[in-house]
Structures are given as structure tokens and as C-alpha cells.
Symmetry: C2
Subunit: 193 residues, 2 copies
């Protein structure tokens, strides 16, 4: 069975055939918002998928010193993809370095803590704007309402992004409120006075 990256590539190829380079470009967005890979990981994985019979390659004209291959899904590849989508997923554990940092936020004074949360808030806000712009773009096509279209699925992931970032923003605001009501250390108090 392919790795998670393998299924991401199968998902890209199910939408349309591509070369390795195109796949590494297409990984950027919107799927790259939730799963990323560099080209150095993509090329070997494509070879593995091909030798597993899930994709097939056709040699085409290309610029570089090496031959260019256009990959597409085989029937077996499509079956593997649908099976993976339908299958029960074991619950994944979260890894969030920001929240880990907040878990140790008590070691700095509330002023420095608030500064940290402010920076996190701005990062979430910037990401929210990106998601919203891409979502607006997707929604100009009425096909995005039909669950059988790739565009519907892209829209669903972007909506997930928008909602999670809005929740993160609200959490930052809540946290700033909690930090704000407390006496600040000497330097900050002097500035305030």
C-alpha cells in the first residue's frame, strides 16, 4: 500500500495526468495547504507507484538533460485511491509547535506572552486571507457545488482551512484577553505610566 504522499499523488493524477515537475508545482495549492512534499521526495515515490502498477508513464518531449515522463493513473491506481478514501482512517495525532510553545508560555512575563500571541494571530490572519481568496476563486465555477467534481473537494478543503483559521484567531483573541488583565512587569508598567 502506498504512503500518504503516494495517495496525495494518486489524487493529483486522478484529476489530470502530469509530469513529476508539474506534480511538484501542483502540490503547492490547494492540497499543499494540508500536505506538502519536495520534488526530491516526489520523483522516487512516482517510481514506486509505477512499479506497483498504480500509475503508468509515457515518454514525452522535455527540456532538461534527462527524459521527461508524463504519468497517469491506471485502473488499479484509481481503485486503490477510492479504497483509501472509503476506508476507516486510524485517528491521527496532532503536532502543533505553536500550541506546544503556549504550553510553556508561563515561563515568560505576560507582556512577552501577549507579544507572542499577537505574532501568532497575524500568521493565522494572513493564512485566512489566502484561503478566502482561493475559495472565492473556486466558487466562481458552479461545478464546485457538485460533490462528484474535483472542484467540490477543493472547495471543501478550503472551507476547512477558513474555519480552522477563524477558530485559531478567536482563540488568540481570547488568550490576549486572559493575558491582558494582569499586572505587567516593571518596564511595561513604566511605558504605560
Amino acid at each position: 500500500m502506498p504512503s500518504t504522499l503516494g495517495f496525495a499523488l494518486l489524487g493529483l493524477l486522478a484529476r489530470r495526468p502530469s509530469t513529476g515537475y508539474e506534480l511538484s508545482r501542483r502540490m503547492d495549492r490547494p492540497v499543499g495547504f494540508f500536505w506538502t512534499a519536495k520534488h526530491s521526495q516526489i520523483y522516487p515515490e512516482l517510481k514506486r507507484l509505477e512499479s506497483a502498477g498504480l500509475t503508468e508513464a509515457e515518454l514525452i518531449d522535455g527540456p532538461g538533460p534527462r527524459p521527461t515522463k508524463r504519468y497517469s493513473l491506471t485502473e488499479r491506481g484509481m481503485r486503490e485511491l477510492t479504497a483509501w478514501v472509503s476506508a476507516d482512517a486510524e485517528p491521527q495525532q496532532v503536532r502543533d509547535a505553536d500550541i506546544l510553545k503556549v504550553w510553556s508560555i508561563w515561563v515568560v512575563d505576560p507582556g512577552a506572552a501577549a507579544a507572542l500571541v499577537h505574532r501568532m494571530r497575524e500568521a493565522h490572519l494572513a493564512r485566512l486571507h489566502t484561503y478566502e481568496a482561493d475559495l472565492a476563486d473556486v466558487e466562481t465555477d458552479h461545478a464546485c457545488r457538485d460533490p462528484r467534481t474535483p472542484l467540490f473537494a477543493s472547495r471543501a478543503t478550503l472551507v476547512a482551512g477558513v474555519r480552522s483559521r477563524r477558530a485559531a484567531l478567536q482563540w488568540c483573541d481570547w488568550l490576549l484577553g486572559e493575558l491582558g488583565g494582569w499586572p505587567v512587569p516593571a518596564t511595561a508598567a513604566l511605558v504605560a505610566g
Copy 2:
């Protein structure tokens, strides 16, 4: 500079000194909700932190065949931790296999898609209950309101968990609504009729 796991361990030791085994138990919750590690990763990392002068170990009585060491933070360790908390973090990229799966959800029929989203919804709900229970426990102690206490930071991370899971639940419900309005394939239609 330590790895992210290193800072997680420094954060644990800043709260109280512990042996390697205790640290691997304490990684479970609440910090483990957002960063996990197995004991096989913790023991070598503790050695690295010690040789970097960020922690120090004291030999104590223990059961196993090997000597037991109780680790605690040095002054330098505490300084590294506060510097890391205060420092600007480079934006981390998200990795979410669930959303990746939804990004390919268009390859299955809307009935199977809805079943998948239902299972995701239940997983989020179960996690939400865990977070809420731990949060209720933390909030019995009034120290959780003071930003200079470890309990405040634990509370902040648990609130983050609650809010993100609630957002995920609402997204699942939205997605089920989008999937629901569409004609289902033969077998499901027969059951409905």
C-alpha cells in the same frame, strides 16, 4: 539548539524534575495532545540535553536493571526555554491526512463520502469530550487564571483543543449538508425507497 522535542522536555522539567520514564508518562497529557514522543526518542534526547548543559541528572534508587536518573533544569536550560518561547517562530505547515482524504472525496459517491465524514465527525467529538473533561478538571484550581502558573498554560492549550475540535465538528456538519442534497447511487436509493 535543541529540537522541538527537546523544548517539550525542557517545558516538562521546568514544571517539575522527573525521570525519563516519568517524562514519557507525562508526555501523554495535556502536552501530548499537541506533541508526542515515545520513550525510545525521549531517552537519547535527554542525554543530548544533559551534554548540552541544559539539564542535570541525579542518580536515585530505581527498580530496573539499569541506573535511574532524575533530571532537572539548569539555569541555562531555563534561559534556553524562555528564549525559545519569546522568539519568533517560522510558520509551520499543516499536515492533515483527513483533509487530504476529503480533497479526493469526489472519486467516491456522495453516500460513501457522507459515511466517511460521519466517522471523522465522531472522532472529533470523542476528542472534544476528552479536552472538555481535562479542562473542567484544570479549572477547579483557581491558579489556572494566573498567566504565570503552569496551570494557566495547560488551560490555554486545552481551550485551543476545544475550539479547534468544535470548528472541525461544524465543518463536518456543513460538509454533510453539502453532500446530502445530491442524488445517491442505486443501492442507497433502493434502501431509501
